[in-house]
Amino acid sequence: MHAPRELRFRPLNLGRWLVWGLTALLFVLLPLAFRQGFALTLMSQMGIMIIFALSYNMLLGQSGMLSFGHAVYSGLGAFFAIHAMRAIAGGTLAWPVSLLPLIAGAGAALCGVVLGFLTTRRAGTPFAMITLGIGEMVFAAALMFPELFGGEGGITGDRTSGPPFGGISSLTFGPQIQVYALIAAWCFACMIAMYALTQTPLGRIANAVRDNPERAEFIGYNAQRVRWLMLILSSFFAGIAGGLSAINFEIVVTAENVSAARSGGVLLAAFIGGAAFFFGPILGAVVFTFFAVALSEYTKAWQLYLGVSFVLLVMFAPGGLSSLLLMNLRALKFRKFGRLRDPYVGVLAAAAGMALGGAMLIELTYHVTLDAGQGSVLSLFGFPMDTNAAGPWAFAATVLLSSLAAFAFYQRGFRRTWEAIQQEIENSVRDNPA
């Protein structure tokens, strides 16, 4: 008798290869499709935000830690990167610019070791409050050392100062397209690394600590240590995002990179996308950056729109965009989407009317209070409008109120159909387990 041969069933996971392959392809194809400088800047920032939001979701989605101070790690990482960049330019450090994010990540992880030890001593709501306090502390402290953090003006660097990438003299990261390529490569690598982490024992036990810390402790894990480890790893990736932003902008400012606004921003991004799925924050980062970079070009009220969409999502779809997407896909898969089509048309048309009317009112009000010096006429959706005339106000209010009434009417039918369909799907899943 010889020992039975260990049997392993390891099919080639085609779906996974396909998804990652397509993602890589998308990173390559996007700059070919959108060649303008603005699109390139936007996509570079999206790549940075994707890493940042995914690192945030290692806390929120995977370990159940709601942090209000995650910008500390990305911001301090950015400072590590910019100082290293200056050292490269000064000739005191021999290190390729393309690997600067590694320095940033290591520095941020170091900060995670120290600060995380404090914050992860408590879980749940106290953790949220403590991270807010620590975030404010780091922010205020950074302003006290202008030698190190550049004070109000920030610290600037030059990303082209290092030796060219791979010895090819034209690859100095001067042009934005090369920076995009660098960010895309890092983004892809980080996405894979963070996904892989969810599959490790640590990733799994972090989920257990999120769901039931007491049981996790009973099977022999120290919940506090698991939270701490996850925070250190998460701050490593946040640091990489910070390092990339230092390369992208060549300037790091305390008031921006370490601010509570940035911490809040990454929280919004992760939640809007959906914290329950790995790909949620990716979606959220894309949407958030679009709001923050593209929409802010057109309107000063973008934060208001962002806040309102966020609150609506929390109230009506706490799973975020990804869960909305998956629920609709599921309805499609079970061939029940046809029943939703007509209610969708009514609800979405009414919602579009509400958005239009509301946005008009907001823009008019913003113009009156903030841009009064520029005269009373503003251009809205390409039409000139006079804030002194009653017409635009009355029109906006009429659109808003009538679509509100229409929404109140249509949403009832939509909700009934939606709930019935979800119930039917759940029943059929329960009755015919795969």
């Binding site: 159940g64 709601l66 209000f68 404090l118 001593r121 408590r122 879980a123 749940g124 709501t125 106290p126 949220a128 409050m129 403590i130 807010l132 306090g133 620590i134 975030g135 404010e136 502390m137 205020a140 402290a141 006290m144 050392f145 030698e147 190190l148 509570a260 809040g264 929280l267 919004l268 939640f271 009220a301 934060q303 208001l304 962002l306 806040g307 309102v308 966020f310 609150v311 929390v314 109230m315 706490p318 907001i362 009000t365 913003y366 209070t369 903030l370």
Partner: protein
């Protein structure tokens, strides 16, 4: 020297009491509903702006009454149509809801009142220093004394309301055993709505009183909000007495820290050591206490977290 110390103590006390006005509402809401109201400081800011607007329209004293009343309505509405809906999904969505709300309120305030500070002034009746304290050699503004009186009065009313009225007893009971109280026929969701509205009204009152003592600007919610959270964690989550001690402690820390020129280099100087100007630690040691004053509350937070993670008077972990 003694007069200066006394005057700083009074300043610190008045700031601490203002912090406690905020922290008490937050603690009440938290211990009752388990909701950390992130928008609490935003209610404080709204109170200040309402106070400014109504005192422009009809004077300070009507504003002192109208603004908290308005905030009561706003708070109750937020609970009724927002929080109650989110409640079914647990505490994190509740916290996020109030976080989003704070985001919106800051923006709305900027739309209505602009991005810079408004000229919200102390009423003329209360302008100037307190006469009898001046006789003792202490310069202390009358308005600050009024602020302390309002805070103490409010807290006494709160305590009386909670401990001595029928409704207060129902609230306390609903705090401990909501299902039991509901079974006895009380409308617990309505009690929650009332508590949330009251918390918002208290924050609003603090805003009306504090807005003109400090600066009324869109950033005020952020600055005060973080400090109030520190107060609550340091005092111990859900403990009113702890919140009181922490508020006063932080108030005193702020007022004494601001005027002290104590620095690491000076302490070393007393010990007979001196720091070379090119020493690596020189920038750190040269910082005086007044320069690091903004960080002091957070350092206290760090200290408490290391020594006593539950908070000064906290009893529970979570």
């Amino acid at each position: 020297m003694l007069e200066a110390a006394l005057s700083q103590t009074l300043y610190g006390l008045s700031y601490g009491l203002l912090l406690f006005m905020l922290a008490s509402g937050l603690t009440l809401i938290f211990s009752m509903m388990g909701v950390l109201n992130f928008a609490h400081a935003s209610f404080y800011m709204l109170g200040a702006y309402f106070g400014y607007q109504f005192s422009v329209w009809m004077g300070f004293w009507p504003a002192l009454l109208i603004s908290p009343a308005l905030l009561f309505i706003i708070g109750a509405a937020v609970e009724r149509w927002g929080l109650r809906r989110v409640h079914q999904w647990g505490h994190v969505p509740e916290l996020l809801f109030t976080f989003g709300l704070s985001y919106i309120i800051v923006e709305l305030v900027q739309v209505i009142w602009g991005r810079t500070a408004v000229a919200y002034r102390v009423p003329a009746e209360l302008d100037g220093p307190v006469a009898w304290l001046q006789g003792l050699g202490i310069t202390f503004p009358q308005y600050r004394l009024f602020m302390m009186a309002v805070a103490v009065g409010m807290l006494a009313a709160l305590w009386l309301g909670l401990a001595r009225t029928r409704l207060g007893l129902v609230i306390q009971a609903a705090l401990a055993h909501p299902q039991q109280v509901e079974a006895l026929g009380h409308n617990v969701p309505r009690v929650f709505m009332l508590v949330f509205g009251t918390g918002a009204a208290l924050a609003g009152l603090a805003g009306v009183v504090g807005g003109n003592a400090f600066v009324t600007e869109p950033a005020m919610a952020g600055t005060v909000g973080a400090i109030v959270f520190v107060v609550i964690v340091v005092g111990g989550l859900g403990s009113l007495a702890g919140a009181f001690i922490a508020s006063v402690l932080i108030g005193l820390l702020e007022s004494f820290g601001k005027v002290s020129d104590l620095s690491g280099a000076r302490v070393l100087g007393w010990l007979g050591m001196s720091v070379a100007p090119d020493h690596a630690l020189q920038p750190l040691l040269a910082l005086s206490l007044s320069q690091v004053a903004p960080v002091l509350p957070y350092l206290l937070l760090v200290l408490v977290l290391i020594v006593r993670p539950k908070g000064l008077l906290g009893t529970r972990e979570g």
